[in-house]
């Protein structure tokens, strides 16, 4: 259940961003999940939803999860671009090798991260919250 670790981190990132931005209500959260991470989108969606509904300001917020495609640069032939999913081995997981020259001496440019991208919020009225102190 490594997704649980990721979800815990995601919640921490969201709550910190909410605090830093005086958010009083979160409407939606946008998260990109790299196809080369070991994270399963449906499982993240499930756990995140369960946990966010326990948090007042995030209750019923909408989750927009999307997959970030893998992009690589080949160290052998200099190819730069998306990975190819080989169906030969019946994988859901893309094979990490250069689609041009088949080398696996490659640098991953995109798709190996889970990114909390942005959220839609209502903010406290700054002047009121400032006046409270």
């Amino acid at each position: 259940m490594h997704e649980f670790t990721a979800v815990k981190n995601i919640i921490n990132i969201i709550l910190k961003a909410a605090r830093d931005n005086n958010a009083e209500k979160i409407y939606s959260i946008k998260i990109g999940i790299g196809e080369l991470t070991m994270l399963e989108k449906n499982q993240i969606q499930y756990w995140l939803k369960l946990m966010l509904d326990e948090i007042d300001i995030a209750k019923n917020s909408k989750l927009n999860l999307h997959i970030i495609k893998g992009v690589i640069r080949c160290q052998e032939c200099n190819f730069k671009g998306p990975l190819e999913s080989t169906m030969e081995l019946n994988h859901l997981f893309p094979v990490i090798k250069c689609p041009e020259c088949e080398s696996n001496n490659i640098e991953i440019i995109k798709g190996d991260r889970c990114l909390v991208e942005e959220m839609e919020v209502d903010k406290y009225n700054e002047s009121i919250s400032g006046g409270d102190n």
């Binding site: 259940m1 490594h2 670790t5 990721a6 981190n9 995601i10 990132i13 969201i14 961003a17 909410a18 931005n21 958010a23 409407y27 998260i31 991470t37 070991m38 994270l39 030969e88 081995l89 019946n90 994988h91 997981f93 094979v95 990490i96 090798k97 088949e102 080398s103 696996n104 001496n105 991260r113 889970c114 990114l115 909390v116 991208e117 942005e118 959220m119 839609e120 919020v121 209502d122 903010k123």
Partner: protein, 214 residues
Amino acid sequence: MEIVKIGKEAMKKNENFADKNNKLLTDNDIFAVDVMGSVGSGKTSIIKQIIKKLKNKQRIGVIAGDLTTEIDARRIEEEGVPVIQIQTGRVCHLDAGLVQKAITKFNLADIDLLFIENVGNLICPAGCPIGAHMELVVTSVTEGPYMIQKHPPMFQRADTVAMNKIDFAEKMEISIENFKEDLSKINPTSKFVGTNGLTGEGVEELIECMNLPQ
């Protein structure tokens, strides 16, 4: 309603810890191997066999990750090398934070070579770097003929794969060569060695493939 840009990575903290571990180990001239593989594939047996062959030449330490018991740590201690046990409780893999705590319990000046036995699991550890210099995956014939095909994330990361329990290959009508071919399709630069964790067969070749300091 307004949009707040965040742009933060969920697993960044682990990566930072992993980088720190790697630097700490490197600064202390320690070469660290993350040993991963399914439950019961032979990780502890192979580590023990490597220790038997190298302990007169290298000062070896072991971190043993396990859910709740200390069984593996005791088995390694029989070889007379220092062992730090990490009990992960319910967590299915080691993370860099847990490993960092364990590393600092060693006297680092007394170690050249460190083996970190990850929790038996062929899936989760693949998503979680811990800062080792090399990744050894120990898998075994008794897990069936499709292990490498079925678990590309783990095998794509491996620097070396030990196909253990080769003594069962004939009984199970499994060809070691087929595994080698499966591996070369998804990870052509990875090394592949057949081993027997009970007798030590293949372990010398494994040590050579891994290019361990001798």
